[in-house]
């Protein structure tokens, strides 16, 4: 374990961690960009790096961007990422009364607590889960992948039907190319480049990064009001921190647990945590007027999700959201297959990932403190200048996958399709999960049918797969009821 700590403090990994976190904080802070776009931008850089520096870069962007989202939520009431929407409810009122730097200080401490809490949970839970999963067969893995897909679709913004359709589109794109069982080519239409399948990274970069450029093009004239006082970073005093310790712990636990569940994600976690703190917090009467406990509830929870989401991704190879889907696909490109065997065959890699994630949480807070005075300028970078840079990164990234112009065309087509889906509220995270899980879903389904002599119901009559099915149904019911309550409450 401590050998791995020495390994991750080597200059190349440290540089990747610092660079990734800096980029993540900045990308997270700029409204409309966010975690997935940040990861899509840095993905091409990983092709020239080793596996661990690549992971350091991606995890830095991931954790940094979730934290960075809180900065614009506080400064301009426009969350850089959806997961920081709840932060603006109390962060922006603090900024308006000249305490922007202090509000960012609260968000920084809460993010650090949430992130490190989830890092400890990742360290303790992932390995036992991976070893347990060795007992699971194709039917159980089929049930797990189904759970991930259905949960992502069920809690996605917009209708569940659109979520399921997006997931199925992702699954179908993954079908193109060779049949994993028989080796026959499917839906390649005689195009040589499609015989190996659609390049999933090119599709993901197109769907998330390039579609963002098109979305930004229709939002060009949106403006925001920037504060100009109280921008010096300030950490909260010990007394007020201690008075809110229960919310720190409870919100971190909520975020980590929700992160482990597939599909729910940081946005749901921050709102669930905020609502819980508003119900039971010590300072609940002041919520919405600039109460730091509201910032703590939202930020501790959304940063805790990052570690939680890595648990099923590393232990089972099943990503729970679009961000971890990108991380899993990078590992596969690097010939590292996430899942139970990773823990038995390459434990040092796993320990190194733990340490990288742990250290990243401290680095992001340092950047938050250093950059707070200049964030209002960063947030004013014109969209017209950003769009060109994002497109260049997207095309360079896809071209460098195989040095082929075909991947650039794939990225463009995926970008246009992604844009069309986004403007009609089809959730792209469901599409990404379908795309990444596609081969595993097909292989586990067809192997399960061999085991059960072609019987679909028999797949779910085994103890663990039946349990997973029941858990999935209960989870969807609980999430939908919670969502209905919240909407009812608003009305």
């Amino acid at each position: 374990m401590f050998d791995s700590l020495a390994l991750v403090t080597s200059p190349d990994i440290l540089l990747a961690m610092v660079g990734g976190t800096l980029l993540g904080v900045v990308v997270g802070a700029i409204p409309g960009l966010g975690s997935i776009l940040g990861l899509s931008i840095v993905l091409p850089f990983t092709f020239g790096l080793g596996t661990l520096p690549s992971m350091a870069l991606l995890l830095g962007v991931y954790a940094g961007s979730v934290y960075g989202g809180s900065i614009s939520a506080i400064l301009i009431n426009m969350p850089g990422t959806p997961q920081s929407a709840a932060t603006s409810l109390d962060g922006y009122p603090m900024a308006r009364r000249g305490q922007a730097g202090l509000a960012i200080g609260w968000a920084s401490v809460a993010s650090l607590v949430g992130g490190t809490f989830s890092a400890f949970v990742l360290m303790t839970v992932a390995s036992p889960l991976a070893h347990f999963s060795l007992q699971l067969g194709p039917p159980e893995f089929f049930a797990l992948t189904l759970m991930a897909l259905v949960c992502v679709a069920a809690v996605s913004r917009g209708s569940m039907v659109k979520g399921l359709l997006a997931g199925l589109i992702g699954l179908f794109v993954a079908v193109v190319g060779g049949d994993p069982i028989t080796g026959d080519l499917r839906f390649d239409y005689g195009i040589l480049e499609l015989s190996g399948g659609v390049n999933r990274i090119a599709v993901l970069i197109g769907v998330f990064a390039l579609s963002e450029v098109f979305v930004q093009a229709v939002q060009l004239h949106d403006t925001a009001e920037y504060p100009n006082t109280g921008l010096g970073f300030r950490l909260p005093a010990w007394g007020p921190l201690a008075a809110r310790w229960k919310t720190f712990v409870k919100s971190s636990a909520i975020g980590t647990f929700i992160g482990i569940l597939p599909g729910t994600g940081a946005t749901a976690a921050s709102f669930v945590s905020y609502i819980e703190a508003k119900r039971a917090g010590r300072f609940r009467e002041k919520f919405g007027t600039g109460e730091p406990e509201g910032i703590v509830a939202s930020e501790a929870a959304n940063n805790a999700v990052t570690g939680g989401a890595l648990v099923p991704s590393l232990a089972l190879g099943i990503p729970g959201d679009a961000v971890t889907a990108l991380i899993v696909s990078l590992l596969v490109i690097k010939d590292v297959q996430p899942g139970p065997f990773l823990f038995t065959e390459n434990p040092q890699f796993v320990y190194s990932v733990y340490w990288i994630f742990f250290l990243t949480n401290f680095i992001m807070v340092v950047f938050g403190a250093l950059l707070t005075p200049v964030f209002t300028r960063i947030l004013k970078i014109p969209t017209e200048l950003l769009m060109g840079a994002i497109t260049i990164f997207a095309f360079v990234g896809t071209y460098s996958l195989s040095g082929s112009a075909f991947e650039v065309v794939t990225c463009l087509v995926a970008g246009i399709v992604g844009f069309l889906l986004r403007i009609n509220r089809f959730p792209l995270s469901a599409l990404a999960i379908g795309l990444i899980l596609g081969p595993l879903v097909e292989e586990s389904l067809r192997q399960s049918l061999i085991v059960t002599d072609g019987s679909f119901p028999a797949i779910f009559l085994r103890p663990y797969s039946g349990l997973i099915l029941v858990f999935t149904v209960l989870l969807i019911l609980a999430l939908n009821l919670k969502g209905r309550d919240r909407r009812g409450g608003k009305g």
């Binding site: 409309g32 091409p44 850089f45 092709f47 020239g48 959806p82 913004r157 917009g158 039907v161 399921l164 359709l165 199925l168 179908f172 079908v175 049949d179 069982i181 028989t182 026959d184 499917r186 839906f187 963002e212 450029v213 098109f214 093009a217 229709v218 060009l220 004239h221 994600g265 749901a268 679009a322 961000v323 014109p382 017209e384 200048l385 769009m387 060109g388 990164f393 095309f395 360079v396 071209y399 460098s400 082929s404 112009a405 650039v408 065309v409 463009l412 970008g415 403007i423 009609n424 509220r425 089809f426 959730p427 792209l428 097909e442 067809r446 049918l449 999430l479 969502g483 919240r486 009305g491």
Partner: protein
């Protein structure tokens, strides 16, 4: 386009795609696949097509059946995706001009990307995109439009050793 009408159009597009894909699975080529195995190579794709078609019909029904003048759908639950809500909330027709510029230029950029040297395509693309979208402060536009592509070329070709066109 209103939400319900858009849903109906998307559903029809999905149903059309499902129809074409189903016809493809019935072709002679696939009749000879999967011999010696328990299923053909289009067994699983057929399941996906059936599910897509079923959900497409549900979406179409939702688009057509909801009564005119009925209350709008309740605010949806938040999710991990970015920006789609804001984009959806924007009246698209009013903002089609910048979108058309971005789409046209980006398609041209993609078409020429591998045919011309990287800097010969990316620098004009950056500069033109910013200018055509209405950004007129050349003191920022020119350094960014030139600096970003040059920096990307230096990092990829010299630092990472990844050749660009």
């Amino acid at each position: 386009m209103k939400g319900r009408a858009a849903d109906a159009v998307y559903a029809l597009a999905i149903l059309l795609a499902c129809g074409l894909l189903f016809v493809e699975t019935r072709s002679d080529y696939y009749a000879d696949t999967g011999i010696g195995f328990n299923s053909s190579s289009v067994f699983y794709p057929k399941i996906l097509i059936a599910l897509l078609a079923l959900l497409g019909l549900v979406l179409l029904a939702q688009g057509l059946v909801r009564r005119r003048g009925a209350a709008p759908a309740p605010a949806p639950a938040p999710a991990a995706d970015t920006a789609e809500t804001t984009a959806a909330a924007v009246p698209l027709a009013r903002r089609l001009a910048p979108l058309a510029v971005v789409l046209g230029l980006t398609t041209l950029f993609a078409a020429l990307f591998a045919r011309l040297p990287f800097l010969a395509t990316s620098i004009p693309y950056s500069l033109l995109l910013g200018y055509l979208l209405g950004y007129r402060r050349l003191v920022f536009l020119v350094p960014t439009g030139v600096g970003v592509p040059v920096a990307v070329a230096l990092v990829f070709e010299h630092l990472l050793g990844i050749p660009l066109p």
